[in-house]
């Protein structure tokens, strides 16, 4: 059981986390946040292993990981 918490309003939608997620369960949202960025979202949270690759790659520290 693992989960990630995305601070949506701080995300700049760079997509680097999407690239490195080994389970390929992240994508950029179709709706922009208040800064105009298409923030990342998790679409299959049940598959998350809590490996923290997304958080390690994130340049803006917007992802918290629990495991």
């Amino acid at each position: 059981m693992a989960s990630i918490k995305i601070s949506r309003e701080s995300c700049k939608g760079c997509g680097l986390c999407v690239r490195v997620c080994p389970k390929k369960i992240l994508r950029l949202s179709k709706e922009s946040n208040n800064s105009g960025y298409f923030a990342v979202e998790i679409f299959a949270p049940e598959s998350c292993t809590g490996c923290a690759s997304c958080a390690v790659m994130c340049p803006d520290c917007v992802i918290e990981v629990e495991r």
């Binding site: 939608g13 790659m57 340049p59 495991r67």
Partner: protein
């Protein structure tokens, strides 16, 4: 469930101003995490450069000084000398360190100043809008070499780690990359090594981080990571260049 990853307390709450996909933020986080894990909350001073990282003083949750262009090692050296009990680091980009500040970095390394320099090499001047840097690759375009850097006209990229490793002063010099997760984990280990060297009083340490600049490279963040891996690492090979046991 336990929290296995969250933003370190050695970074402030201020959001980074960096462009989407810029790896400065990763470098900041790694430095801050290492300082946090070393228990340096109340005995560290950082020096911010001129360039994209000029606002680093807003992000590192510790005493900070902002230095004039290229002079961060001189500033850091003095801060360390008047309070040697502190961990002192300078954070510099490639224009700052390898162009205007070349004298300062060489002499700080040569003196063996007991400081840690975090050197962000993204092969371009970011803040000023993408001009050629001393580290720009041959063939790489910039606003001041729009046809691509040409050795005959613009000179060649400078390999800072290799050059500084010829000096007797440095205790630890390593080049790492921020282009993928394993590299980032390795980069953190390099920083730990450098800061521990400083703690043990071994002398000058420098970690060069190959970093990407999607905005000025005119690439997507993903393409920029590929460029770092496939092109930059060819010219700037990763590895340890100096290690005093």
């Amino acid at each position: 469930m336990a929290t296995v990853f969250k933003k370190t307390d050695m970074l402030t709450e201020v959001p980074f101003h960096y462009c989407p996909g810029c790896t400065h933020g990763i470098a900041h986080r790694l430095v801050a995490e290492v300082l946090d894990e070393m228990g340096c909350q109340n005995n560290v001073v950082g020096v911010a450069p001129v360039g994209c990282a000029v606002f680093a003083y807003n992000y590192f949750n510790c005493d900070m000084q902002q230095a004039s262009h290229g002079r961060a090692p001189a500033v850091a050296s003095a801060i360390k000398r008047v309070a040697p009990q502190n961990i002192v680091f300078a954070y510099q980009g490639d224009g700052d360190l390898a162009s205007i500040g070349m004298a300062e970095i060489v002499h700080s390394a040569s003196r063996g100043d007991n400081i840690t320099v975090v050197f962000i090499n993204n092969a371009i001047y970011g803040m000023t809008g993408g001009q050629m840097a001393p580290t720009t690759l041959i063939g790489q375009t910039s606003t001041t070499c729009p046809g691509g850097r040409c050795a005959a006209q613009n000179g060649n990229p400078i390999r800072v780690c290799e050059m500084l490793a010829t000096l007797d002063g440095p205790a630890y010099i390593e080049r790492v990359s921020l282009a993928d997760v394993p590299s980032i984990r390795k980069a953190k280990k390099a920083l730990q090594k450098a800061f521990n060297c400083q703690k043990e009083g071994k002398g000058f340490t420098l970690i060069e981080m190959l970093s990407s600049c999607p905005t000025n490279w005119k690439m997507t963040p993903e393409q920029a990571l590929d460029y770092t891996k496939n092109e930059m690492q060819q010219i700037f090979p990763l590895g340890v260049f100096k290690e005093v046991k």
